[in-house]
Symmetry: D2
Subunit: 167 residues, 4 copies
Amino acid sequence: MSTPARTRSFDWEDPLATASRATTLSGGEFLMAIAAGSIPQSPVARALGFTLSEVGDGSAVFTVEPAEYHYNPIGLVHGGLAATVLDSAMACAVQSKLPAGKAYTTLELKINLVRAITLRSGPLRAEGKLIHAGSRVATSEGRLVDAAGRLYAHGTTTCMIFDTHAE
Amino acid sequence: MSTPARTRSFDWEDPLATASRATTLSGGEFLMAIAAGSIPQSPVARALGFTLSEVGDGSAVFTVEPAEYHYNPIGLVHGGLAATVLDSAMACAVQSKLPAGKAYTTLELKINLVRAITLRSGPLRAEGKLIHAGSRVATSEGRLVDAAGRLYAHGTTTCMIFDTHAE
Amino acid sequence: MSTPARTRSFDWEDPLATASRATTLSGGEFLMAIAAGSIPQSPVARALGFTLSEVGDGSAVFTVEPAEYHYNPIGLVHGGLAATVLDSAMACAVQSKLPAGKAYTTLELKINLVRAITLRSGPLRAEGKLIHAGSRVATSEGRLVDAAGRLYAHGTTTCMIFDTHAE
Amino acid sequence: MSTPARTRSFDWEDPLATASRATTLSGGEFLMAIAAGSIPQSPVARALGFTLSEVGDGSAVFTVEPAEYHYNPIGLVHGGLAATVLDSAMACAVQSKLPAGKAYTTLELKINLVRAITLRSGPLRAEGKLIHAGSRVATSEGRLVDAAGRLYAHGTTTCMIFDTHAE
């Protein structure tokens, strides 16, 4: 095959080494260390080319630029990309509020796909924001928007909170 | 870094060339050609290492083996993998019923994650099955199970059906 | 039975007469006529004691005061009440944007219940707000809050838009 | 008003008296007592005219006959009726598996409405079935069908399980 070279390589760091750092930091400290580059981005983020770029108190933003290797068989970026970056943004919005000693797991997520994503969409931001923070359950929402603020997808998630020592 | 080499390369085929074949085949014919290897698996399937392996009349199965490059920052396979393969399986269950000249788009998907996925889970099957096929809207469900039949995730989706010529 | 009298009566107007008025008005006009009392509240609103009280451009508010007859068998207000008033608020947020000649149907709704509703909750507001308005699909979200702004439930919905004449 | 009389009366039993019985019985015993009539149907079931009619090991069925007082303002049965009876059926499918001393709360539910419900639909069955029963989280699904087996709505739910004494 001549043009273009449809091949991609990526590398990643040991995820269990990274995860062990999560147990001594608060959720917000852990995520800010990833955004700042002192803890590596996750393997799946390397695989799909997305990045945790901003962390707030109850919020998180991931960025991704749609590429040909994100495409599905019917000529559009696969909905799984939107689901994955929104899942990340919504879960990290919850994690950003957790003190050290608390962890979370995602119970469910629901994603609406409202506009087709293609190479022409340009860089996208997945913005996660906390809705409800209870002692055992938290919910958050997310929006996937382009540089002009156009909405491509949105979602909500439900997370369960637990003590890391009790698990 | 000595052990192990945490790097991966993959390649893919032009997705728009593949998508153009979708317009002349029925949904089932198109998907069976992918499963049989005469139409290439999608770019995102190559990126994440999953495969369309079975197509029925109102059903589809994707297979994936969890790998370290699927991990999130907290030491587990990212929920986006389950969302992506279930989205594929559920959407293809709908597509498998479409005659030539009809196309679909996914409006929304909802995924429950009921068991953590790790390297030890082994190969997983995402089984999609049609629930309702209307003239303009179809819904389907999916289950993600391991070789022993243990359930890891399940979901539902809503697709809109339209004429390819009318778009 | 002595105290208290656990009985309730309600009445309603012919819903098909009301619905016929929907075909000549825009969605916003129709809903504002209900909120103003010149078109009757729906039968189900009479049955469950909720009221369309505010209509905006892409928004709608229903109010309800939890009562003993809303209870489930385990001592709390049934989640179906939150689902019903949020469904109404979210659907009417969509309907408020429709011109005359367009109608909608709800394809799906998803509701998170984040705080138990009881008699002590006091009057609740279900606030619906449009997220995305496309030519064929619209999505909206809703929040159920008490007088102090505490959140009890939230949700999203997907609606399909169509021409009333084409049906 | 001459024809027909659009009024309805219903009564109910003290829901807190009923709920207190839930603490000494297993979930299945409690629900079977309701289905058998020795514990009253819930207030909301009386308000909307639905009935818990069958209880299995991980399943539950509610029945309802659509009536004019279930209608929304656009000439169809309100989606909240489907949401309410499916919520009941899915939650009771979870509850049917709980031993005495365990209780549950519904975290979220998602409902697809695939066919309009009208007076002509006739009696409907909401069939709930357990999908996943974990120690702290359970999920279930539901289908709303008519006497001919035609599907009107379907859904899934996520419930959290906890010890009644720990609350």
